[in-house]
Symmetry: D3
Subunit: 323 residues, 6 copies
């Protein structure tokens, strides 16, 4: 298949040649805002919401950026279109926007007008890393480092200065190489994952932290919308580790996997240690909303042997598929 093309400031470059200067402020300062959208059956999901948030990030970061929003939307669709044949027909795609402030003035004079670097690219929606989590749940772990406070850098600005997330995620891997981090803020409240939001279910009610110290995720919002449509009561509220230890169910949400069940928390089972009923209903809701069963999609990406091994274990999915 053809190599996909990335868009960089007006140029279309094959991925292997998709490069930017080491003097770009994305490299020199992590000064880059971003969005990650995925397709379902090749339709981008809530692209308008992603682009709207991108423009919010650009505004708050004070970039000198004048591409109209409609042009960005059109360009986004063009990137998907141009790369359509680079992926298998049944494959879905990532669409990634990275926009940096542009060149970095080594001289200290940052008042010079700079032209932002606009980078768009696609990637195959490879879900193999998360596939087993749908059936068995992942292990959520709180690292010792604390979420960056919004008065230092607001996580609602989706940006690429993510060293603090990366280091915290590596701390969680000390507990379990497959652990997924859930960061606490400086008061010990749950915030978010390095790239997703967190939910729990208690006595039938869906709960997720407020977005004071977390991204207001598009997938998070879609999950709240699905819950509302399914009649599942939901609320945003401050949550603590105790709430997860005593929850019935828990999961992460993020663009690629939609919902990633968490069945262990800091070494203890969440609820009965299996993926829960509300989680499954929400996953079904996601399938209904998008027309794509993301669980089946993920499992379909596994090698035969891996899938067989997973299916040999009892799980909600094996129960469902055996019906």
């Amino acid at each position: 298949m053809a190599e996909p093309l990335a868009y960089i400031n007006g140029e279309w470059l094959p991925h292997r040649e998709a490069k930017i200067s080491i003097f770009d402020s994305a490299v020199m300062l992590g000064d880059c805002v971003t969005e990650s959208t995925r397709t379902f059956a090749r339709e981008p999901f809530r692209l308008e919401a992603h682009v709207a948030r991108l423009y919010d990030s650009i505004k708050v970061c004070r970039y000198d950026f004048d591409m109209p929003r409609e042009e960005m939307l059109a360009l986004s669709l063009e990137v998907i279109e141009r790369n359509a044949d680079c992926y298998a027909p049944d494959e879905d795609l990532w669409l990634v926007h990275n926009i940096s402030r542009g060149g970095y003035p080594m001289s200290g004079d940052q008042s010079a007008k700079r032209v932002p670097t606009v980078m768009l690219h696609t990637a195959p929606m490879d879900l193999t890393y998360w596939a087993a989590f749908y059936l068995r749940g992942c292990h959520a772990v709180t690292p010792p480092s604390r979420m960056m406070p919004a008065q230092s850098l607001d996580p609602k600005i989706k940006n690429r200065s993510r060293m603090s997330y990366t280091l915290a995620e590596l701390e969680t891997k000390l507990v379990d190489p497959m652990a997924q981090g859930i960061l606490l803020d400086h008061n010990g409240l749950l915030t978010e994952n390095k790239g997703g939001n967190f939910f729990l279910v208690k006595d039938g009610v869906l709960r997720t932290p407020r977005t004071l110290q977390a991204l207001a995720g598009v997938t998070r919002q879609a999950t709240l919308d699905i819950a509302r449509d399914l009649g599942i009561p939901a609320e945003e509220r401050d949550l603590q580790p105790y709430d997860v230890y005593t929850a019935d169910e828990a999961f992460f949400t993020s663009t690629p996997y939609c919902i990633m069940p968490a069945t262990r928390f800091n070494g203890l089972p969440v609820g009965d240690g299996a993926v829960g009923e509300v989680t499954i209903r929400l996953l079904d809701g996601w399938a209904a909303l998008t027309g794509v069963d993301v669980v089946a999609q993920a499992l379909g990406q596994l090698a035969e042997a891996e899938r067989a091994e997973l299916f040999a274990q009892e799980s909600w999915w094996t129960r469902r598929t055996s019906r």
Copy 2:
């Protein structure tokens, strides 16, 4: 003159071609550690200290990096050597190290071993932006955003996830387009500038914040060393805006400019509003230590007219040079 070469993972590339993949974790995650060293009369200043700190950053960030420290030192010198003729003979150089964790795994599986991206480059030591500050001092301003706490990301790790610094610096420009930011921590203590440390002088004593929430700058340490050699008492201690308002002198320290006097603070004069005696003694100490008078170097880079305009104003420098 020839275009300088940058070193990127074994390749030597002219600056215009010095690029990295948009999929590099430097771009995708701001996952990059860094050092900036300068030369004085083409001799790199305390290069060993910079490289030692670089290796500390690499360790704390848990990069899979096995280049021996000696090799990095040799490579550093080689970069300078190779580019020696690309700059005017009397020009000094920046030497910049950027080392990222390597490629970014779009798939979520971050356990795959990754090869760090090693980037070294030089740049001319252009001091024109700061030149006037040596004579008149700059305007130090505290932005409303707060320094990122070390329990979120320790600033002693010199890294490229600098969005929080950039946004705070832009806030200071609202007060004065030439303002230089001095960030407060979440308790209101002075920390550091986006790229430098801060000092003040009160009753003959030199004071600088502890490095709990600030980089332990090489230039900061050198300035403390110079003070010790000159018999100027110095101490690290918690400082607050009140201390600057009531100080006799204040200045920033950073690699390129060594010492940048600050003669205004949040709109009020520091001391009598002129560059102070201790600051001048320390600048003289810097000249003695490095063999280069950085003030003369900076002024020499100005256009004739600018320099003339500066000299038309009374300042310690005009007094000195008129002697």
Copy 3:
């Protein structure tokens, strides 16, 4: 016209003679509680609510104060009545209550019973300072200093120890001499202005910070009441600078001006940079509630030339008045 009279502990004194001892605890300790009420068409607005809050402040400050509340209400009306003819017939009035703990015991013995100093006065409702803001909006700015925490001094006690507000407001003037400050608390949440509350509008919903670290303003409450009556959804919730940067509209509320639109925030436009629809509806609601169009009142106080200049600029008001 006659000089207005101020009431001071039973005496009626012309303003020029309205003085208190420099040994009063209002002067010596800022130990004074206060209320500011205004009239609309000479009718005091929610005077009972102001007096109720005054008595709450007196209680929490533990003053030895035994004037019955009804007497205070009667006295308040009397002050307005007595001064009725001192102002132009179409002019509205401030009514200000200041009550200090009384004399200050230089000797250190603060157990002696002290007689509170009761001061009431009126002032013309001069809106010229704010008039242009109704049409063009003001510039809201967050200063670096932080709101005093309620565990140090609860802002719900309306009191005259306001140095922290004054200094923070002066910091905002560094950005723009006409800037209006909006203070952040020590977690970076929006609190209040030196003398008013803050609201924003996002996707049709009106939002204002909780009163944990802010005065529970009478004008704030009236604005929430108007919103309820107009069917505008409203909520108290924690707000951050990001919320203002990405809001559609924003405004301050305070006794004199009711609503002061804010169309810039830290140098960036709020929404499209013009006074918004919800703000205008609420201003109309204020006119309906009070029988006074405060915008017209303010504009009417401007000199002809100023008003003409304002009207020469396109704004919602010129559109309205041109209909």
Copy 4:
């Protein structure tokens, strides 16, 4: 004797007529800086240090104030001189400086230039309230409210917005009507009293909190100077309630009483519950430094019966005077 005169902006007024407008910003905003100096044998103590701090406060508060410092010193001495005969020959005096920002602009326009209100007055150095404390020590109590953080209002600015101190002091009186408050900061560290600093002695070492959240008291500094001269090791360091509970001695310092021993802390004895040796040495040092035995001065102000009752109790003083 004649009634003393107060100085108010160029006028000399008998105390009963020493008044300021209720529209002064001292009254309306607590916007007033201050100093309190005392005399020893009619010599003002470290008046230069007090005036220097006053000018620091004026600067940080950004008053438009242009009286030269020398003029303020001269004026200060003149106030004492003019009132010299208003007090008994063996009586010492307070000298109080209050300087407000001037008139308060009811109109909201605070940009108008304002003339500061300069108020100087004297008062008899009445020590009767504290006299017994010298012999028996006072009861230091920590109130539940917390010291205002410096990032809200720096206590090093000596100012008259003191409501938070007053309310906290009233909380301490709930424990004991004669209790003297010692405020904790928001981390639970000891800071200062409503009008003085705090010291403790442990194993022969004198310790006092840093001035991050406390006034840098002139009396505090003088006490440190005396300790140095007496060879008593002393250090500024973070202190907690535990340190007082387990201290050997404790005391407050402030202008009028110099040193006020504290022999109980939150209901428990400090050390053996008696005034300690180091405290007594420091009091002796104060007598040596100033030429006035402040303990004798205070006791001399008591009524005969009170003094007799005090002397009937065993204390260090009765032991000393019985020698």
Copy 5:
């Protein structure tokens, strides 16, 4: 009457012999979780909720505990049954569960599997200490120490490491030997009492702090349930001392006394200083829910003289009983 029996790990021991090893981790580490349930007319109240919370505590504390929940319920009832005749027929009982982690490994090796120590006992429901509070209300006082933050130890884990509560409660006794403490968290928000929750009533609305820093009390929940059934609007929300000072009513809730009215707060009356209407309605609701009038029960336990003295004072109860 017979001496009651306590259950300790399978043994039934008379109270005087009910002992555990001084090497148990309950003694050595305060490593013990707990519940306190009471009976109404000998029926245990919401025993299932208490046991459910006990098992939550056991889980979060990671005890190696395998007794099925049903067995614990049965055992709980057995303890009450066995001791039924040890108390007067009209007397109600406490049922207390204490479960420690088991033996303490002096050797440092805490990995050895340990058998938890299960202790259950009863006690007479002696309400004499609180009886007068029902009629006159208690004095609620905020101590200077701060509630332990949940990120250090979550109070929702009901456990026996209660030194911080005990010391804070002793601080409140400095104000008033009969004071009941209400702890503030490190932001100055109200949390809980050493063994109960706190409520206030303002303008007809019942308010209680969130459970971020407080036990989610069973009695608290029952009180919220009663309010809902009585149509009294209720909300969980952040509360501050100001809210209590200006409340109409206030009370504590806890297992033994259900509701303990608080009519003074830090020395000031709450509302009019008498037990309020909503409080009385809720107490009536408690009687209806449980079939036991806890106020009558408490008063019935007083000695005749004490009761007579109480009744001689006007109170809501005397009004009720005189009807």
Copy 6:
């Protein structure tokens, strides 16, 4: 050998019978202060310092305790003496003091005078758990939970309400079953271990956290004394995880093991990953000070096979013993 005797309020009981009532406040409230002393060659080490701290704890906790300090010292020696023959001649002992407030008043009336429960016991100084750490170092890990702040419960009060330590230690075991926890405070500063202090060595300087949020350990102080005697510069100062990652050496101190080297920190090697030179010098200093080589003592307690396995690995000890 005979079973050792424990002292409990005047009685001498064999350990198996050494019990206290389940109604003791040690059990019911974790209301118990404590000390743990060890012997070296059967001589108690700094027993006076331990008893002095015990009496400080008793005072701060406000126990009604009147046993003279000398009596406690004598009793302490008697416990050791009485049990002398219960241990092997070459074995050293723990001496543990536990003193609770006494009985727990179920009735809520905590004003009744209570008799403290005094418990003293011995235990063999079993060092097998730590033995290998002397040679290879342990793995220090920071748990996500935060140290309890001193304003909630000061760790300088050595007490038995240790649930927060226990839960945090269990969190560290998730990383490594043999991990030793080092708790961070709420600002991310290093504090202490569940039962010991922490030190690091950097560039030849010994550093340990201040005791604001940590016990002022007797072993910690002895280690500082040894360093002083050996000429090793040492300082108390705020330390962060970065300081451990970049340290040359690190270790814990506690009564039983004196010094426990830490050679890994959160999965990364400390220095070169081996026990360092300064640590070894300090261990030698401990041997010199106490007359007991604690390393030899610990190794001597291992089974032959374990010891052989340890010696098969290269370490400083094998190098020393092979000399």
